[in-house]
Assembly symmetry: C2
Homo-oligomer: 290 residues x 2
């Protein structure tokens, strides 16, 4: 494999936007990721807040993003990178037992969610949602359950309670904050999600059942931030400046892995910034005396 100008790790919205912008500046690019490119987007049943493309399912959006990259002549290499090692003026990427070489690296590896519950995958987008602010409006005046991993999700719980008629709230933590009167806190756990076409019932660990119109699963998502040694993090996300540079010269990051909010437009914008910064970095090195 010849040395590329920019290697992009992950082909979700951030990585695809980075690839389009590196290519628009006429630099060579290696773009790697799994077949689906973004399982997050694949799962989103409707994305209404990416400017210019309302009313599409996440999967339709995902497909048109990939089409754009293909039209620009960029291939997506279906591999997983297991480590990245700085070597003088460039980087070695470990792919299985090979090493590939790049002048700069953009990390767009996203976040991954904790393990799912029985029935959960069946009903994503059919009664199960991961994002209160995205999907609340589908449950106006309805009865919902909300499962939350951490107290930091309570803003979302409050927002859902403003919209829904009744909220069964199952926090995984002890002390809850102030909640609206239509929120009933249950100290129980969900064992399984059941239903027909749509999810209808939560089976609880202590034997009870809840009949609901929908359930929101507000769970922690872990950033995939561990590929490069010595990368500085802020909590669990990669620390970036306003140009998407990390603490390691030549390494940039964008999208969910670089921090919240976890959103498509933000990922696309940051992908562009990271690309332009990486191109400027490559140019500065090419210009510099060796």
């Amino acid at each position: 494999m010849e040395k590329v100008d920019v290697a992009i790790i992950g082909c979700g919205p951030a990585g695809l936007s980075a690839a389009v912008n590196v290519k628009a500046r006429n630099r060579s690019v290696l773009l790697v990721g799994p077949k689906l490119c973004s399982s997050a987007l694949h799962k989103a049943h409707r994305v209404n807040n990416y400017l210019g493309m309302p009313g599409l399912s996440g999967d339709e959006l995902r497909k048109s993003f990939i089409r754009h990259v293909r039209e620009m002549g960029v291939d997506i290499t279906q591999v997983s990178v297991s480590g990245i090692f700085p070597m003088g003026d460039s980087f070695q990427l470990q792919v299985q037992d090979e090493f590939w070489e790049a002048r700069t690296v953009i990390l767009t590896t996203g976040v991954f969610a904790a393990k799912s519950l029985p029935g959960e995958n069946t009903y994503v987008g059919k009664g199960i949602s991961y994002c209160g602010t995205c999907d609340a409006m589908f449950y106006r005046d309805k009865t919902i359950a909300v499962l939350a991993d951490d107290v930091e999700h309570e803003d979302e719980v409050r927002f859902l309670a403003e919209v829904a008629k009744k909220v069964y709230f199952l926090p995984k933590y002890e002390k809850t904050g102030e909640l609206l009167p239509n929120v009933e806190v249950l100290r129980d756990k969900v064992k399984e999600f059941q239903g027909g076409e749509r999810m209808e019932t939560l089976l609880l660990a202590e034997g009870g059942e809840l009949n609901v119109d929908g359930a929101f699963l507000l769970k922690e998502q872990m950033p995939m931030a561990q590929l490069v040694n010595g990368l500085e993090l802020v909590e669990k996300h990669i620390k970036v400046d306003t140009n998407m540079a990390t603490n390691i010269p030549g390494v940039f990051a964008a999208g969910d892995v670089a921090g919240k909010p976890y959103q498509v437009a933000k990922a696309v914008g940051q992908g562009q910034l990271a690309a332009l910064s990486a191109v400027a970095y490559v140019d500065s090195k090419k210009g510099a005396p060796v």
Copy 2:
């Protein structure tokens, strides 16, 4: 006018994206700007680097952005805001001789270019371009003129000279740097652009004429950053943190006015971030004791 949660000043890509995202969070929004919303986008003859929507003219992109906002039920109020004044927990916006009120403000006012020359507007996208790196490829092995306001544009001049056969270079400043041999520096000024369907001729102040295939006008663009007193700037742009907050609590900024690069995807991503930050700010104030 009743007090809105979020006032957005300017309806280019950054302002429109902010509006979509405030609305998705179910907060009230005032969106103001001129009829075209973004004259920058209106002028761009082809935008290929906004993920998911390749191959469109800037104007087609502009129209689908506006359509999205309309579909979300947001109106665009065709006024210009002449000043913004913090008043306790909210902001007064001056519109002609009225004052409108908002809990938070997002500045998405873009940049504006210096005054245009006779014939310039007629031939934008038909022989006149403002962006070397965007449009150089259309002039491979052709003869072009390049007008530059400032020495900082010389990187772009060098890039154009690599691609074009011959470059007539008309800098507005004294001392030029090292240039390729196919660049001829002319100490003259352009009086007018002339042509048929496309621009063909530059009439010069000292009476001469240049016949060219195209002209690049590399001019300074001034950020519209002067609406709020006491706003901190970095050079001429509004200073923002990674959440698009300015130094004034409750005032956010996004897009070109918040710094380079001047690009659509970056503006859209920052508009989303500013919207989510503004909504969080409104919520924190509503929750707080008065």
